[in-house]
Symmetry: C2
Subunit: 475 residues, 2 copies
Amino acid sequence: MAQKMEKITPRDEDFAQWYTDVVKNANLVDYGPVKGTLIFKPYGYAIWENIMKIVDADFKKMGVTNVYFPLLIPASLFNKEKEHIEGFAPEVATVTKVGDKQLGEDLYIRPTSEVLIMNHFAKEIKSYRDLPLVYNQWANVMRWEKTTRPFLRSSEFLWQEGHTIHSDKKEAEELAIKIAKYYKDFVQDFLLCPVLSGKKTEREKFAGAKDTYTIEALMYDGQSLQSGTSHYFEDNFTKAFNIKFQNKEQKEEFAYTTSWGISTRLIGAIIMTHADDEGLVLPSKIAPIQVQIININDSDEVLKTSNDLKEKLSKTFRVNIDSSDKSFGFKISEAEIKGIPIRIEVGPRDLKDGVVTISRRDTKSKESIKLDDVIKYIENQIIDYDKNLFEKALQNRKNRTFSANTIYEYIKLLENKQGFVLVPFCCEIDCENNVKEKTQTVSRCISSDHKVDQNQKCFNCEASAKNMVYFARSY
Amino acid sequence: MAQKMEKITPRDEDFAQWYTDVVKNANLVDYGPVKGTLIFKPYGYAIWENIMKIVDADFKKMGVTNVYFPLLIPASLFNKEKEHIEGFAPEVATVTKVGDKQLGEDLYIRPTSEVLIMNHFAKEIKSYRDLPLVYNQWANVMRWEKTTRPFLRSSEFLWQEGHTIHSDKKEAEELAIKIAKYYKDFVQDFLLCPVLSGKKTEREKFAGAKDTYTIEALMYDGQSLQSGTSHYFEDNFTKAFNIKFQNKEQKEEFAYTTSWGISTRLIGAIIMTHADDEGLVLPSKIAPIQVQIININDSDEVLKTSNDLKEKLSKTFRVNIDSSDKSFGFKISEAEIKGIPIRIEVGPRDLKDGVVTISRRDTKSKESIKLDDVIKYIENQIIDYDKNLFEKALQNRKNRTFSANTIYEYIKLLENKQGFVLVPFCCEIDCENNVKEKTQTVSRCISSDHKVDQNQKCFNCEASAKNMVYFARSY
């Protein structure tokens, strides 16, 4: 392997460097030749494949149908929704020529596909009978970035973008909420990252949306990572694109739309939530390898045992035997760096007692397990492993959730600690702009669990508070 | 549905218009706002999803690992392999600015990813221990086209591109051949399109390749469609990119590479091989719906029977009940246009006799089948259905395979008939250029079954013939 084991900077010493070290040592990505682009190497891409597989199957159960829309959007079409274009204009990569020939019109590489899909919907929708359409695509998108951080910030990234259109306003809004709820469940149950969920403020909602629902995960360092968003557009886009349908009363009406997405950023969330100073720690459900078998020598007995184990375990788990010619110690380190949940060491001494040694990546526990008990043992350990990952992350979030009533308290918390800070907030754009100027932070989401008291004042401007809102530094 | 049933032009009257009509009526794609781009609608994309699912699973069994490389290639990097750039230069879409800002260097949207991947390999490969790397990506690529034909010709298309690097020359060459063989099996066994397979001539091989292996399917109209290619580069690319590894003797050596791909063109092949004047006819293994159930009325008995049937059949097949409020006749036409292999009609009169009516899309056979026998009957019919599709296509190819010994005979065949024409050929580039000038056709592949006789002359230049080669008009 070109990959060399290099020292991983301790997480508590320099979190950013630790992150870069983990990503590099675990062989997840490489940088592309164009600044801001990433190469997803096999192990990194396999995590994304596992995410896609689970989410795609769940979407299909929810009645979502997959489609594929073109990469390029004509500038004239993009400019149809003013608010939307303003949100993306500075970062759109623009095709101006083909070979030596200048094009008649600039073409944008999609930063997101709302306008393309609206344009298509306008042609497809005639009657309420044509509705709803519940589309999704797995695609690459591009938003230019000056700095690159694997999974967190790159000019090109991979995602799914759902786009739906409805005859019924309530149905559209409910779908946006249902998807946000699904994202929450998926990220918590499969990626084991606890999230806050709720609406975005006026300033932070998506360009053109009536409401944006977000899920926010708190990373180990106390910064928030927006992990999925679902937008309800009401008829904002359908008015801009003049998308009407004939309702049951034979009257023309504007339709209602939503869009929603999760991306390869989620891999960043997994790393910054669970990984440690020895490398990745992967949630079992998305780990490309769940059980790694390492042989202590090449004796027939050892090889036969590990092959048998692999065959038996493969019915339930993704199992791999490390049969490279690397040293035993290197193989152990590599299994740790790659965050493989369970490691089995098969050695001649153990086999005399009819046992193998099984370790867990999270707790570093090591136990001698009888060959006959291996499957049952691992089944139990994996359940406990996942539970432990979630609990640890939840504990970190609990330790890092604060509240403040004034901007001074808030700044003090930002200076001394990191985490979610719950504040009473007027939710006005100007006031949030002002908070951003003072603190370089903006709100993450409106709390759905906390209500403002009567007469409670905004933590920043002292106007009447409208909502309790979480603020935090964020990725 | 916005889709309206429109008349399908008879296939034998105007093949091109027939194709367009079938694609439109089956609701497979729409045109994007940028000329040459396509929107894959749910039914069209579902076919591609089924293709991906089968091929991806087979690749994984063959030890292929998925990756994802960036969309954009710097011009300077692309220009490293001269022959390669010449092949693609006139059709590369070029990003020159982001927002208002001009970029320092032109960036090409990948027409294929060899150079990007070579550039990455150069960094990854140190020793024979790092080899082989057997990568694949499912991605969008762009090659500008002036005319658009759904699936056959579009500026953006979807494909898989495999890229491998090896320490052993023979291993690399054998892998390229193995993949070509896999493509042949997949296209014949799953898409039911018989193919010729063999090497491309010097003129027709891929830019930069030592050998290109191709599979060529003959469409109903007698034109060939290149359905998959696998390239063996020897060390052409590794020399251009200076990719050396240390071999077992600790000496530096250039590595050997391959690349291979199939694309959404295959959907065009399926249509032009199997569809008929009533619409699509889909091979069962990639049909999004294999069994369509249509109720004759909404009585409890009918609904209960069709729900029961769906539940039972869903264990083996992809089953759908058309529960729209369209008329019975419209539902029948739609099932035909969509090419659904098996249709079950559930009606009260039949139910009195304990039967349902089952039709096959290919033969239009219609039989009353007892409820208890439905599963067994459909299982048998589907096997026969697939066999029939393949046999019909094979018969068409047999009827349209000719041979010629002179250019005059060849031109006459092209004028009067369409199909594969086997000719003795010198295989020189200049001679093939000359054939192209005279006939607007080039070779499809070198026959692996036929050898030239001693003293046999090239059909065009009368120099000594080197191989027996298939020529044909092509898509």
